[in-house]
């Protein structure tokens, strides 16, 4: 488990049925690329988040595969349809096997 990993997601609290909303997600993570070397010339091993999934009531909105070229604190912005009231679940998969999760509820206005 990488230290100080904190997911942050911005989702509107309410939406009209069938509305397209914009979601912004960010997770604090160092995304060590595996290209850098430490002071002694040893390569620092890769440690990144390799997959990010957003789903609404179990239906996938977006599934992103990340490589080492994604910046520190990976940020994603995308759009989703809200067909009914429910929960958005956000899942990040770390190289070391850790899984970080966040849930946001959306009500129909």
């Amino acid at each position: 488990m990488a230290e100080n990993v904190r997911p942050r997601v911005r989702v509107p609290k309410t939406a009209a049925a069938g509305e397209v909303i914009t979601i912004k997600s960010l997770i604090s993570h160092k995304m060590e690329s595996g290209q850098r070397k430490d002071g002694d010339g040893n390569v620092i091993p890769r440690s990144i988040i390799n997959r990010f999934v957003c789903a609404f009531n179990g239906v996938v909105v977006i599934d992103v595969t990340l490589e080492a070229a994604v910046s520190t604190n990976p940020f994603f912005e995308f759009e989703a349809v809200v067909p009914e009231a429910g929960d958005f679940t956000f899942t990040w998969y770390d190289d070391d096997g850790s899984v970080y999760e966040e849930t946001k509820s959306v009500a129909i206005a």
């Binding site: 397209v20 909303i21 914009t22 690329s33 290209q35 789903a55 609404f56 239906v59 996938v60 909105v61 977006i62 599934d63 992103v64 595969t65 990340l66 490589e67 080492a68 070229a69 994604v70 910046s71 520190t72 990976p74 940020f75 994603f76 912005e77 995308f78 759009e79 989703a80 349809v81 067909p83």
Partner: protein, 140 residues
């Protein structure tokens, strides 16, 4: 056959030159190889895909990019000048509001950022933007 000092020198310089010649295209085609793995060599069109990236990025550590291709099932991003060209792949599910994704990426140097979209009908779109990277610079 005995190698004289002179022959060794000639041989050495010749093999060095071939290695340099062979090395360059191999390095440049890492991205092409990755793209080939997706498209299988199919023709790519450049209509209907939008790739937005800054013309000049002052800090190569976080370069904002946005890609949009209506009707795509997935979009892959590549940075042609990075040690590993693959950047990220967006796979859109049934509830995606639009086939748009934005993120921040690392760029090692001034280079082309390439997006390949796989459409629902099996065709491919390609967009490319050149980003100037001035790491440690103060703009311009």
């Amino acid at each position: 056959m005995a190698f004289t000092r002179r022959k060794m020198l000639i041989l050495g310089s010749a093999s060095f030159a071939t290695a340099a010649l062979a090395g360059l295209p191999a390095f440049a085609s890492l991205t092409d190889d990755a793209i080939m793995a997706i498209t299988g060599g199919a023709e790519t069109s450049d209509a209907g895909i939008t790739l937005t990236a800054p013309e000049i990025a002052e800090n190569g550590n976080t370069v904002p990019v946005e890609v949009s291709a209506p009707g795509a099932t997935s979009i892959a991003l590549f940075a042609s000048g990075n040690p590993t060209p693959s950047v990220a792949t967006f796979n859109f599910g049934p509830l995606a509001g639009s086939q748009t994704g934005a993120t921040r990426i690392r760029l090692a140097k001034t280079q082309d950022v390439v997006a390949i979209a796989t459409m629902a009908d099996g065709s491919f779109l390609r967009a490319s933007v050149t980003v100037k990277v001035t790491i440690g610079g103060c703009g311009g």
